[in-house]
Symmetry: C2
Subunit: 148 residues, 2 copies
């Protein structure tokens, strides 16, 4: 396996929110501009990563965690996007080997990608994902509509 | 006030952890390399931002939140670093005006910087900081030991 499979970057920061429009209005009031995205997610491209707003109920379903666990500062996940589909399972296994708890094994997702989730030893939630529609930049940078 | 005071970026992602060495060992087992940092914080430079590990007790003291609130996925904060010291208070005021709750007003910090904290409408915790020792890159990127 490629030693550099887990490069030093975070592809997405996802904030779980109670009301998508209220949450978006808050960040827009601070000056941020969203990029176009499908219903159900609101995306702001940052430097080399995207910050997403996602409903708490949807994130609970997505991660299998109780909704209460995603309240307040708890409603935040980090995502690491890989270049090859098969890297999802490889990286999840590596994380488990390092002490992580597997929340969701590698699997195809309805939107056409492939992903899984683990929890680090302190309970922080990471998604590992392959998104064929958003290729990464040469340095691994992520943005909502991809590079190249 | 500069409309662009809150550019679209996150300077630091801080994970609250129970045991600094265990947490660092986990991310190092996945292949990450830390940069030199003072005792009490462990830092990994990412693309244009730093991921830091910080003890849960220290982060509770820093934010004024109960330690229980910083367990599991809850133990995560985002930081936005500004270019000028006075921008800290300006941005905090703007956040409060947009619906945020002020957790800690702008103040000097023992390490020589200036900062404050707010909570977004869903409880996500943001630090706004000016760090004179880590100047930002031209595009606003942050790394532990600064640019330029």
């Amino acid at each position: 396996m490629d030693e550099a499979i887990f490069e030093q970057r975070v592809s997405l920061i996802t904030l779980a929110v109670g009301d998508m429009q209220r949450a978006a209005a808050f960040y827009e009031a601070l000056g941020w501009c969203r990029v176009e995205s499908p219903d159900g997610v609101i995306a702001f491209d940052l430097i080399g990563q995207t910050l997403g707003l996602y409903s708490r109920a949807a994130l609970a379903e997505e991660t299998g965690l109780p909704e209460e666990a995603l309240r307040g500062s708890g409603g935040m996940t980090l995502a690491y996007n890989v270049r090859e589909k098969e890297d999802v399972a490889t990286l999840l296994a590596r994380a488990v080997g390092a002490g992580a708890r597997l929340l969701k094994p590698a699997q195809d997702v309805f939107w056409g990608g492939h992903h899984g989730y683990f929890e680090d030893p302190d309970g922080h939630i990471w998604e590992v994902a392959h998104n064929p529609f958003s290729p990464l930049g040469p340095d691994g940078a992520f943005r909502w509509n991809g590079y190249g």
